[in-house]
Each structure stands twice: as C-alpha cells, then as structure tokens.
C-alpha cells in the first residue's frame, strides 16, 4: 500500500492506493463502492488480469483515504483524475462497483466496466419517504436524538462531511452522462441485486451506445464469487477495442 497527497479545491486528500503488476503497460483502475474499500476489490481481482497494471484506490473518506469536506460525485472523479496524473496512469480501463461505477463513468475511460453500478435515480419507496417525513416532524419537536433509528444503513456512523456527501450522491441521476459516453462498456450485474437492481442495468445498457450486459448469480456483491469470469470478460472487452483499430 502507499499514500499520495492530492490537493483539490484548497483541501488535501491523502489517497491510499496499491499497485499490482507494476511492469504491465495497460492500466486498470479499480474503484470500490459506498462504504467499501480497495481491499475488498483487491481480494476479488488481484489474482486475475495479470497483463494489466492494477491500480486499487480508496476513494476519499473510505478505507484509508481521508476526506474532511463534503463532495459530489464529480469531485470524486476529479480527485481520482488528479491522482492518476500523479502516478502517470492512463484511462485504459476503469472498473467501478456501485458508487465507484458513477465515478468511473465521469472519468470517461476507453473501457468502462460497471459492476452493479449506481447512477440512475430510482424513486424512493413509500416506506422510506414516510420515514423521512416522520423524522422531520420529530426534529421539530427536538427529538433529533432518535436519528439513528431513521438514518439509512449506508449513512450510519458517517462523519458530518461524509453524511453531506452521502446526501449529495445518493439521488443523482447520470442518465445524460451514460447516454453521451462513447467508449466501450461492460456491465456486470448480480441477478438478485437489491441495492442497484437489474432494472438499473437494463436502463444503463439501453443508454450506452456500445455496451454488453452480463448477468451472474448473486446480489450486489456477486463479483466476489465471480471475479474470475468478470475478469475474463474485462480482458475480452479490452481486446475488442484493439481489433477495431
């Protein structure tokens, strides 16, 4: 593992990262999802794709990377981009899981690999809407202490800037960005994903011009059991970009 400090908007972000196969000439950047970290991604993908230089990054505020200010997804993309310049990495392939998928999209790589990615707004179910409404009433009566009973699983234990970040990124809709992406996309999804359901995959597949959708058994973290197959698909997708030239 290693640490690099990145300056962005007058703030310093210590970015923890790790590089595998340093001699390989094609880069694959691997971005984790919300509340996750690079170790989880590394565990899945480190044994495969050994012709690529793997770059695992802890996104600001997660794993061992720091973040003291609220960010938006485009800030994440910009920080990763700055970081990539520092380590002299190219945007050959970027793989993103969940929230990392959105960041990957905004980085506009040659090959975009979305693994159970978010990025399409799904209206909140009535239950969640009701929860928010009730909590707002509670707050008026000074019962904000009960927050932990109401706050989303993904936002519990978050620091204040990260909670703000959560609110910034959770309801984003990047349909336009998906539609205007003109590289090659590989979408890998878990059939029983409830966090970013299959409907999202179908929508994204429809929006992106050149995309392939692969469906696997499993939930939002299906890739942990299918990393070998996913890796094979990534290699094939990358090879296809060479054919066209």
């Amino acid at each position: 593992m290693a640490i690099k400090s990145i300056q962005y908007n007058q703030h310093t972000f210590d970015i923890s990262y790790e590089i595998l196969n340093p001699q390989a000439s094609v880069d694959i950047i691997i971005l984790h999802g919300w509340l996750s970290n690079k170790e989880l991604m590394k565990k899945s993908f480190a044994p495969y794709m050994d012709t690529f230089r793997h770059i695992y990054i802890d996104l600001p505020g997660f794993g061992k990377s720091t973040c003291s200010v609220a960010l938006e997804t485009k800030d994440y993309a910009r920080i990763v981009e700055l970081f990539m310049i520092h380590i002299n990495a190219s945007k050959d392939i970027i793989l993103g899981h969940s929230f990392g998928g959105k960041v990957a999209l905004l980085l506009d790589p040659k090959v975009l690999v979305l693994v159970g990615s978010s990025g399409i707004y799904i209206p909140k179910p009535f239950k969640i809407k009701a929860k928010i409404a009730i909590y707002k009433v509670f707050k008026i009566f000074g019962l904000a202490k009960l927050r932990s009973m109401f706050v989303a699983q993904d936002a519990k234990h978050l620091s204040e800037p990260m909670y703000q970040t959560f609110k910034n990124v959770v309801d984003e809709d990047l349909s336009d960005e998906f539609a205007s992406y003109d590289g090659k996309a590989l979408l890998c999804w878990g059939r029983d994903d409830t966090a970013t359901p299959m409907s999202l995959a179908l929508k994204i597949d429809e929006l992106i011009k050149d995309s392939t959708l692969k469906i696997y058994d499993g939930d939002h973290y299906f890739f942990m059991n299918h990393s070998k197959e996913v890796s094979k698909e990534v290699e094939n997708t990358f090879l296809k970009t060479l054919e066209r030239k």
Binding site: A2, I3, S5, S16, I87
Partner: protein, 345 residues
C-alpha cells in the same frame, strides 16, 4: 520465574506482537506467565493463558476478559471485593509504536514497574532510523551512507540505483522497497510515506553479507547470542518476516572467523553500553570488505530472538535479575521549610 508479558499496542506491528507473545508462551513454558494485552485503544486486558491464540484477538474475544488498570507498582483489576494486583516485572513485547518508541517505557517508569525492554532514551535512538544514524555518528559506529526524504518536500535523491527505501520509524520490513530504477521510485516513496512522514534512502548492496546478533547486559557483563546469517532473497518481505516473528527453532551459528565475530560483538557493545541496559536487543549488521556496518537496532526483537540463544530461559532470568533501577528525586520540601522558617511563619 514470574513474568508479565505485555503485548499488542496501537501500532502497525500490533499483529506481529501477538505472534511474538504466542511464540514466547511456548518458549517459556514452566515460567509463571501473566499475559496482558494492550488493544488499539490503549485498554489493557488480562488474557487467560489458554486463550493465547491469534483468533482471540481478531475476533475481539479479549473484550470479554477482565480489563486492567495501572497504578504504582502494578497492574490491577477492580472487582466486587476490591482489587487484584498483577505486580512483578514486565516483559515489554509491544513491537513498533507504543512499545519501541518510548511510550510504554515512560508509562512503566512513571508507575515504577520494572520491565525488560528499552528505556525511553534507548527507544528514541533505535525507533527512528534517522536518530540511529546520529547515534552511530556520535559513537563512531559505521553505517551506510543515507539520505532523508520527507513527504512534505520532495528533493532530488542522489543515491545511485539500486537503492532501498524505508519508512524512518518502522521495523519488520513494513513499507520497505528495493528500487532498481527511476520508474519504481515514486511508488516506493508513497509506500514508505503511508507509514511515516520521513523515509531513509540507502544504497542497496546486492549480495551484501548480513549478520544478526542479539545480546544484553546482566551482572555488569555483556551476554551474547550466537551470530546468525539470516537467509534472504533480496529482502525479507512482510510475510517472511511475519513467519520470522514466530520462530522458535534454534538456528545454526554463522560460519565466520573468530576475528569477525569479535568485531561484531565489539560493535554491538558500543551500541548497547550506557543506553540499552535493561533490554535484550538484536542488532542487524552488514559486512562490507571486512568492515562492520550497523544496519538497524531492534530493541524488542521478534519473539525476543529466542532462537539465537542456547539457553533462552536462563538468559531472560539473568536479565530480569539485573534490571536497572531508576533514580527518582526525593521531595522533602527543605527549601519551602527553610523559607518559611526565615519568614518566621
């Protein structure tokens, strides 16, 4: 022999310390051992000897065990009917931060608890590799040429390739890289900077002879282990080092001349004397063209370098019986009394 083994600590080497403690439990069978674990939040727990397994800590089972506090002369456990004391000498087995940086030494000194381990001043000079270089300069001990780089300001490194880059304040090969050419330099620095703000750059001498020697002072005399030539493939990486910390088999004596052995022992004594008393340390040396260079000082070596000693138990007992005593100022308010008297109050 009664001994408290203190291990864990808020350190990058926390897990290594656990391995060390488990190894020593085997090595010191027959001793009356008490195990005290310091978790990453600096809470002390009394660990039942039967629970001295790596899982106990990774699964946080230690939290169910009695929590201890520290007071003058001992650790203690509060219970319904008062307190249970855990007094006696401590073996400081916390590697890295806390254990080797002088923190634990200060705590134990403050509470007048006797311990095997480096004192505060010894810790300062061995924990930070920059200060080890200063020590060598002052004591006229040879070390390799070096440069210091800081995370804050990047300067041009003038050392030739291949070079070795190490975080300034960490042992156990964590964060250490051998850099063969410029393309590997940036990443190697970032790796070191994950662990420390400063890194040491030294030339990497391929095939250099390396020798390890452990020892301690007891009854006014130096006692040495055998000299070991560690087997190495370029660099002991973390995993191999980790295995190294659980070593318990006696190793073979390095096949070196009596002259070289004496040279190593003399250099060791120079390092040790008037600084490391009370500790069993291991020094790692390089030998280049017959000259002895100090590479690093391990003031709390992995599993106390037990494998280097023919009679490890006996050695530890000897050391325990000649631990330094602290000199503490006696406060008797003479000065205030004399002023009060002069004023006639």
């Amino acid at each position: 022999m009664k001994l408290i083994i203190l291990f864990g600590g808020a350190s990058f080497e926390h897990e290594i310390s656990i391995v060390s403690a488990i190894t020593l439990k085997e090595k010191l069978s027959g001793f009356d051992l008490t195990f005290i674990f310091c978790d990453q939040d600096h809470k002390f727990y009394l660990i039942d000897a039967s629970m001295m397994r790596a899982n106990t800590f990774s699964k946080a089972q230690h939290k169910k065990m009695p929590q201890l506090s520290i007071t003058n002369g001992s650790f203690f456990q509060k219970n319904l009917f008062g307190t249970t004391q855990y007094g006696g000498s401590v073996l400081n087995l916390i590697h890295g931060a806390d254990g080797e940086d002088g923190t634990i030494a200060s705590v134990l000194d403050f509470f007048s608890i006797k311990y095997i381990g480096p004192r505060v001043d010894a810790s300062i000079f061995s924990y930070d590799k920059r200060y080890t270089k200063y020590l060598c300069m002052a004591k006229k001990i040879k070390t390799l040429e070096y440069e210091v780089v800081s995370v804050k300001e990047h300067k041009n490194i003038t050392t030739d390739y291949p070079m070795i880059i190490k975080p300034s304040r960490l042992g156990s090969s964590i964060g250490v890289s051998v850099v063969k050419d410029e393309s590997e330099l940036d990443y190697a620095l970032d790796v070191a900077f994950e662990f420390d703000k400063y890194a040491i750059v030294e030339p990497f001498i391929d095939g250099v002879k390396e020798y390890n020697l452990a020892g301690f002072m007891a009854d006014g005399e130096m006692h040495f282990s055998i000299v070991e030539e560690p087997q190495k493939n370029e660099l002991l990486d973390f995993e191999k080092k980790y295995m190294d910390f659980s070593r318990s088999e006696q190793v073979l004596k390095a096949d070196i001349s009596l002259e070289l052995e004496n040279k190593l022992k003399n250099t060791f004594t120079k390092v040790y004397k008037d600084l490391f008393e009370g500790a069993l340390i291991r020094c790692d040396f390089f030998v280049v063209e017959g000259e002895v260079y100090l590479n690093e000082i391990n003031p709390i070596p992995g599993s106390m370098a037990n494998y280097l000693f023919e009679d490890f138990k006996g050695s530890l007992e000897m050391l325990k019986n000649s631990l330094p005593t602290q000199k503490r100022a006696k406060v008797n308010y003479e000065y205030i009394h004399s002023i009060s008297q002069a004023k006639g109050k």
